[in-house]
């Protein structure tokens, strides 16, 4: 069934279709309508789900940690300051190997106060042990939530599904909403690794001495390393049911392009238009959409960029002192490989400023006309 819905509504549909049993969340713009939609559905009795009211995002995640531990599929959504407030519990969720799925609506972190799109919030949490998936459109949002539960429950790691504030969260698009029966065929019920049985008491995540702590961290890394393979298989199955696939990354545009444009989130949609237009003008250029940020798809990217001389990365985030975080990850990922294209690290659209087709074109022309970037960080659209 096709419906014209916002990104946040797509999230709610994804949650409903995943048969989530516990939702705990604290409202924050631009995530609020997700919580509103879900709490309304629950209050109206349309969902057999428990909604836990909490006083903070920290508690929202803590509540889900409890729910997930006892074997319940659960969900929360947040944004910006809310995500930052959850920080400690994010570590706990991954350390306890709980397959919690959360949506983060990308929003800048203040000050100055700003409610618009910016990836700094989710990227600040990159070392918490969560899988991170960035979505380009509302259909992808819904589909990614369904896939996220599958992946999380196989590798036993939590997943953060990320979408841009307003550009997706509050913008309506046609979305194909699968039926419950179809989703049930794709997504089996959740079985916890260590079932909670009152008759056989266990203490979960007990204190662990230096003798073993190390090994538990090693296991998390190993689980992360499985994600690529697991995701591919999950997506193959997803494709069988729903005829859609996304991949950890996606390459589009010219076959043997010298210059590749790398983007994530909704900027990719704009980039697709620009790349198409430039190809029509005879410029050999292609684009790569990076969907999965954690674990970083180093292998997939190395494959995709073979033969390219230059990479232009547009980051809608800033790690002060370094620059764009995607560019930084890319450099680290490519360093061991043989191919060493020149990387142009652009920063653009911070705090929700539009990344227009003109700006993207400007970035591509800059990369084409320079053999090396003049500066470590290239500021795209900065008022100079």
């Amino acid at each position: 069934m096709k419906k014209v819905i916002t990104g946040n509504q797509a999230v709610a549909y994804g949650v409903i279709l995943s048969r989530v049993e516990v939702v705990s969340a604290y409202p924050i713009t631009p995530q609020t309508t997700i919580v509103e939609e879900l709490s309304e559905l629950i209050a109206n009795g349309r969902l057999n789900t428990r909604f836990l009211k909490v006083e903070s995002e920290h508690s929202a995640m803590a509540a889900l940690i409890g729910a997930s531990t006892v074997g319940v599929r659960c969900f929360t959504a947040t944004s910006s300051h809310g995500l930052a407030y959850m920080h400690e519990m994010l570590h706990w969720a991954s350390g306890a190997r709980l397959p919690i799925v959360m949506v983060n609506v990308n929003r800048a972190i203040g000050p100055p106060w700003n409610i618009w799109s910016d990836q700094s919030d989710s990227l600040s949490q990159r070392d918490t042990g969560w899988i991170q998936l960035y979505c380009e459109n509302n259909q992808e949002v819904l589909d990614t939530i369904l896939q996220a539960y599958r992946i999380a429950e196989i590798v036993r790691l939590p997943v953060m599904v990320v979408l841009d504030a307003f550009v997706l969260s509050h913008t309506s698009e046609p979305v194909d909403i699968p039926s419950m029966e179809e989703v049930d065929r794709f997504l089996p019920p959740f079985c916890p690794s260590y079932p909670f049985e009152p008759e056989e008491p266990k203490a979960y995540s007990v204190i662990t001495t230096p003798e073993y702590f190390f090994e538990f961290r090693y296991k998390i890394q190993k689980a992360m390393e499985e994600v690529s393979e697991v995701s591919r298989k999950v997506e193959d199955e997803f494709y069988v049911h729903f005829k859609r696939r996304y991949g950890a990354i996606e390459r589009y545009g010219g076959e043997k392009a010298d210059l590749l444009l790398l983007t994530s989130g909704t900027v990719t949609s704009t980039s697709r238009l620009v790349v198409k237009k430039l190809i029509e003008q005879g410029i050999n250029v292609a684009g790569v959409k990076i969907k999965r940020f954690r674990p970083f798809p180093a292998k997939e990217i190395s494959e995709a960029i073979k033969g390219a001389e230059k990479l232009a990365v547009i980051d809608r985030n800033l790690s002060p002192g370094v620059g764009g975080i995607f560019a930084q990850e890319l450099r680290a990922a490519l360093y061991p490989g043989e191919e060493k294209p020149v990387i142009f690290g652009f920063i653009s659209g911070l705090g929700g400023r539009d990344i227009t087709p003109e700006l993207i074109e400007e970035a591509i022309h800059y990369a084409l006309s320079h053999s090396q970037p003049e500066e470590e960080i290239l500021w795209l659209g900065l008022k100079k």
Binding site: S193, K202, A203, Y204, V206, Y212, E215, F216, K219
Partner: protein, 581 residues
């Protein structure tokens, strides 16, 4: 027993550190720096109840739909719940912590509900007295006398109550009109006291057909003769024909006697007697005008009584003071002065000050003076100490003469039914102590509710059960996360036009469904009601249950003293104290 697991390689290890056995070996109680424990504290309702009712407990029983249990709890302290539920001024409700959230719990309505419900069950009362014990005489069968007789009977003493009127009840019968307290309610509660073995002899008046000599066969005497003399205004004309005394008027009509009145009746006074008189006058088909020298704010009558009177059509003229009563052809012309309010007096009310030359006349057919009641001292032996018009007693009711005790209106200026019942209780306790040679003041101190003066007879009889800390629970000590606003249930009332047709009861008893709902509004301040919030929250599973039964006990072997139970407890029933170092 527990076994520590060792792993040689990472592949042998589970995904997460998890104990696969019991953790009992880890006695986390040794970490504790503070200790939570259950101790019931005094709710403000009970602390302010002159009777000393265990309000939280009886309401809890209603909430559990155990009405017989509720009845038993009420009867622990009060033989007249049907009376109190109707006529008490319920200071408990004024102090109810619930009023900080929405409205106080309708305690009076619940008390009445329980009492009326038990009437339907026709409970059998056990005969309690033992002939061999010391005999006690009680003079006066009002609320103080009845209460004292009831509790003495529970202590198994043979009791004889002497009443000068032909029927028992004292002011409950003579002073309170049946539209507030139906006679059958009063009679059923008195007959329950009688069926315990209390003898009530009516038509016996001390100083007339009963003298002090005859009373010598009793080992103790409790005097509760009340305050029956109407206070005179001290103005010219008040002794004329057609000028009645308020209490005399009420006594007459409440005992079925006819009173010849004109059409327009003036009533002087602002207390409950004045209101009772005015509303009774309406029910006799006459017009009632109250003349009161201060304003509505200062009226000593209970607020609800005043508003019911106004609804029914009683007129009240404020800030007027009669100075002389003129009489011509049966018509009374009351000469009045207008008043203004001055500074506060010793009662905390603003004093009326006459405005010079403001004289005016109010014409009425009859005049009833209800300016307060005084005590008839004439039949008392000389030498009994009195002050400000009352007989002086110790806190336990003793008057300094061996074996003699007193209570009720005779000994107090707080002339309410509840205060009278409370004084009867204290005297019963003092008499028991007197016979047993115990220090009654010390005994009393141990069973005070909060700071007193009310006492708990239950705790006297069962010193080890339901202990209660004297700390009075404040609203700030409750956890409002657990309570939502809910409207107070109101008893339905007859429409004013129907009420004044006769003396039928104005207010009706709450139906059971509403009473149970209302009982659910009680915070149960300071009193554990087994809600098990602590059990749910305790991160160390240290709140104990045995075979599913919640014990109100903490397992100190494992309790870390985190204090979550104390913080979460909705009603402040858990106390946290530092461990001794």
């Amino acid at each position: 027993m527990t076994k520590r697991m060792t792993f040689k390689s990472v592949s042998e290890m589970p995904e997460i550190p998890i104990s696969m056995g019991f953790m009992d070996w880890n006695k986390t109680g040794t970490w504790r720096a503070q200790r939570p424990y259950y101790v019931d504290k005094t709710p403000p309702c009970s602390a302010s109840c002159p009777v000393g009712n265990d309000i939280v407990s009886f309401i809890q029983k209603i909430a559990e739909e155990d009405l017989e249990g509720a009845w038993r709890v009420l009867r622990e302290e009060n033989p007249l719940p049907g009376v109190c539920g109707r006529v008490c001024f319920h200071p408990c409700e004024s102090r109810c912590n619930r009023s900080f959230l929405d409205e106080p719990v309708a305690i009076h309505a619940l008390e009445r509900f329980v009492a009326d419900d038990m009437e339907l069950r026709k409970e059998k009362v056990k005969r309690e007295i033992e002939k061999a014990k010391e005999k006690v005489a009680i003079i006066g069968s009002g609320p103080a006398g009845l209460s004292c007789a009831y509790h003495l009977a529970r202590f198994h003493y043979p009791v004889t109550v002497f009443e000068s009127f032909s029927l028992p009840g004292g002011m409950l019968r003579m002073g309170i009109p049946p539209y507030r307290l139906p006679r059958e309610v009063l009679e059923r509660e008195i007959s329950l006291i009688e069926s315990m073995g209390v003898e009530i002899r009516t038509g016996v008046t001390l100083g007339q057909n009963l003298d002090w000599e005859e009373l010598k066969s009793f080992s103790a005497i409790f005097m509760a003769t009340g305050a029956h003399l109407s206070r005179a205004l001290g103005i010219p004309g008040e002794k004329r024909r057609g000028v009645f005394q308020g209490l005399e008027f009420l006594k007459k009509i409440n005992s079925g006697k006819k009173v010849t009145l004109g059409e327009r009746i003036g009533i002087i006074g602002g207390g409950n007697t004045a209101i009772d008189v005015a509303r009774s006058v309406l029910r006799l088909g006459k017009k009632a005008i109250i003349l009161y020298r201060r304003s509505k704010e200062e009226m000593p009558a209970f607020e609800e009584e005043i508003s019911e009177a106004l609804e029914e059509g009683v007129k009240i003229r404020y800030l007027v003071s009669p100075i002389q009563i003129h009489s011509r052809n049966g018509l009374k012309r009351v000469e009045c002065l207008r008043m203004k309010l001055g500074e506060k007096d010793e009662t905390g009310r603003r004093k009326p000050i006459p405005i010079p030359n403001s004289n005016f006349f109010i014409e009425v057919d009859s005049l009833i003076i209800a300016a307060g009641e005084e005590i008839e001292f004439s039949f008392f032996p000389k030498g009994w100490e009195r002050r400000e018009g009352i007989l002086l007693t110790q806190r336990d009711g003793s008057i300094g003469v061996k074996g003699l005790f007193a209570g009720g209106d005779l000994t107090s200026l707080q002339r309410t039914v509840a205060h009278a019942i409370g004084s009867g209780k204290r005297a019963a306790l003092a008499i028991d102590c007197y016979f047993k040679g115990r220090d009654s003041e010390e005994t009393l101190r141990q069973i005070l509710i909060g700071e007193g003066p009310s006492i708990s007879i239950f705790r006297y009889l069962h010193p080890d059960e339901r202990p209660m800390d004297s700390h009075i629970v404040r609203f700030e000590e409750l956890n409002m996360d657990y309570f939502e606003q809910a409207r107070r249930q109101k008893e339905s009332k007859l429409p004013p036009k129907v009420r004044i047709k006769d003396f039928r009861e104005v207010t009706s008893t709450l139906p059971s469904s509403l009473a149970i709902e209302e009982a659910g509004r009680c915070f149960s301040c300071g009193t554990c009601n087994g809600c098990e919030t602590c059990y749910v929250f305790c991160p160390d599973a240290s709140i104990l249950k045995r075979e599913g039964v919640f014990l109100r006990e903490v397992d100190y072997e494992f309790c870390k003293g985190c204090g979550i139970c104390f913080t979460e407890c909705p009603r402040g029933a858990i106390t946290l104290k530092e461990e001794a170092k």
